[in-house]
């Protein structure tokens, strides 16, 4: 069995992201001139403590997956710092980055596409070992079997190919591969989006179980708000390449501060029919602006139900308005951090569906 690692006793957070930007250039015209950038991620900052799970939510195309990939430097970030376990991953040399890779791993969205159809299960799980260890075949095989045990795969499956497994089992293979090198940090890039509901719970519970046993730190990217509520400790809500709100889970779900977070959370299904009947959804008008040409002011100003003049001119910064709660919105002025404690009553009502 995998040994539980004692949680590191460091005061600095394991992951520290500062002003991460990921712009994809647009070339157009006959001369393929650089005419603009798709600002998929435009100045994102957050931290994740060791052993913690940060949920990252937002609608399709808001840059969630790009953040995850840029964090592991699968993309070369345009700007910003990504400090993982004391080293700035965004600036490591190729060889140092390769040495650093075992610390950080990724679980992918589509378990079908993330496994090479021509490799057997044990070769897939063993691939990280081939890259980073000089173990004997026997030792590798033993470790592969242990990994399979720990994610709940029968050892008999070791020589089968990915197409012989169900979606949930394939995702377990992906998780076993991510665990092979004893990582500290795992980016889960919508690991449950391609699975059906009964399997989603299994996979999420497996992830939680592994976190408890191995002291893992997750960045859990998802658009399934109820699943994020289940697994995350803190949640960041992204909109058009920026973080709109970053709050502890319970606070966010009880009382979202940012108008976008509020609208997003109003879309969560309510299992209780009595409450569901009273629930009023906030329906946003219009479309998400193009990330190639975001609005001058706040990215959300084109659809915000509570838009003010200042929103159209000035981009709000992500500031701490209450203890542990960061919001990028002009509704919460920088200077009135203390005064905003008066707001809860109003926003509480708002959660019941009374839009102002």
């Amino acid at each position: 069995m995998l040994d539980a690692r004692p949680a590191p006793v460091t005061t600095a957070p394991l992951i520290q992201v500062e002003d991460l930007k990921m712009h994809f250039p647009i070339y157009s015209g006959i001369l393929r001139r650089h005419t603009g950038d798709v600002k998929a991620v435009d100045g994102v900052s957050f931290f994740i403590n060791a052993g913690e799970t940060l949920g990252l939510v937002g609608e399709s195309g808001c840059g969630k997956s790009t953040v995850g990939r840029a964090l592991l430097r699968l993309y070369e970030p345009t700007a910003g710092r990504v400090i993982i376990d004391g080293e700035d991953v965004a600036r490591l040399s190729p060889e140092a980055l390769r040495k650093k890779r075992p610390t950080m791993q990724m679980v992918f969205q589509d378990p079908q596409a993330s496994l090479n159809p021509r490799m057997t299960l044990s070769r897939i799980i063993g691939e990280p070992l081939d890259e980073h260890t000089d173990w004997t075949d026997k030792k590798k095989q033993d470790w592969i079997y242990e990994l399979m045990d720990s994610v709940g795969l029968n050892r008999r499956f070791a020589n089968r190919f990915p197409h012989e497994f169900s979606g949930g089992q394939r995702q377990r293979i992906g998780i076993a591969r991510a665990l092979a090198l004893n990582p500290k940090f795992i980016v889960c890039d919508e690991p449950i989006a391609a699975l059906d509901v009964s399997i989603q719970a299994q996979v999420v519970n497996l992830l939680e179980d592994l976190q408890d046993r191995l002291g893992l730190t997750y960045l859990f990217i998802s658009h399934d708000l109820s699943m994020v509520r289940h697994i995350a400790d803190r949640v960041a809500v992204m909109y058009l390449g920026k973080i709109a709100e970053l709050s502890p889970r319970d606070d966010l779900y009880a009382r979202p501060l940012h108008p976008y977070a509020e609208a997003l959370l109003s879309a969560v299904n309510e299992p209780d029919p009595v409450i569901a009947a009273k629930r009023r959804r906030i329906i946003l008008k219009g479309d998400v602006p193009s990330p190639a040409n975001p609005p001058l002011g706040c990215n959300f100003c084109t659809r915000c139900p509570r838009v003010m003049d200042i929103c159209r001119a000035v981009k709000p910064d992500l500031i701490e308005v209450e203890a542990g709660r960061f919001v990028a919105c002009h509704l919460y002025p920088t200077t009135a951090a203390a005064g905003s404690t008066g707001a809860p009553e109003a926003t509480e009502r708002n959660q019941q569906g009374v839009t102002r």
């Binding site: 990939r69 592991l72 699968l74 980055l97 390769r98 040495k99 890779r101 075992p102 950080m104 791993q105 990724m106 992918f108 969205q109 589509d110 596409a113 993330s114 496994l115 090479n116 159809p117 021509r118 490799m119 691939e127 990280p128 890259e131 980073h132 095989q141 079997y145 045990d149 029968n154 050892r155 008999r156 499956f157 070791a158 020589n159 190919f161 197409h163 012989e164 992906g174 591969r177 090198l181």
Partner: protein
Amino acid sequence: MTDSDIGVAPPETLRAAVWGQFRKHRGAVFGLVVLVLLIVFSVLGPFVWGPEKLSVAEALKSKNLGSSFVHPMGTDQLGRDTMQRMMAAGKVSLAVGFVAMIIAIFLGTLVGVLAGYFRRLDGPLMRLTDMFLALPLIPLLLVMVMLFRDKIARNLGPEMGAFVLIVFAIGVTSWMHAARIVRGEVLALKEREYVLASRSIGATSRRVILRHILPNVVSPVMVAATLGVAEAIITESVLSFLGLGFPPDFPTWGRLLYEGLEYMQLYPERVIFPGLAISLTVLSVNYIGDGLRDALDPRIRGR
């Protein structure tokens, strides 16, 4: 764990699994048998059977004969035994076909993978491919043969020299289609999540290509390769016909075909036998490639 010893025994090896699936493909097995027969015919045939040596006067009398026990495939206009020439020709044609195909596929796959995987090489390598495609083939081969034939013949002897030159010439002028197909496939493959996963593990480009890209471009490469064999055999005969290939009295299937053309209306078997041999080779190689492609794909192998 209680079931720790269950999975430990590794089941059949990959080679056994591939052979098991290959055998189930009836066409592929048929193709393999035909190809082996053709190879046996041309390589071992001369040791088993040969016509008696004739004097010039006898040969003159025995020209343009039909099939008989003495000459199973008849004789040609100079009284040479056609079956003996078919055997000698088969050795050369098969060798040219396969070696030229291997060279072309190697070059094509190399260029295609490099162009598809490394963005910076894509432009230059694909322009090079376009350039080769735009070159008129026959004049190019003509120039190559004129320039190098004597030098190579001096070092390797006229027949071996011609063989090396022809194989090389065909190889370097027929890799372009394979390169284009492979590049397209690699462009699609390298965006797949398992390639991304491999990179997130920290695998070097070389490992990613060898482990993930190459095994997955096998299918198109296999198709290109089987077609390449046929093309190489035909191109060789064109070259020989133009006097750029092997010496005039040196038989190859392509040359026998061209020589027989003149007499086609009187003696159709002169064209039928070499034509049949070329067609059978091409067909059997095609079927073998088909079976091999299926056998190498675990998704099909499982069924």
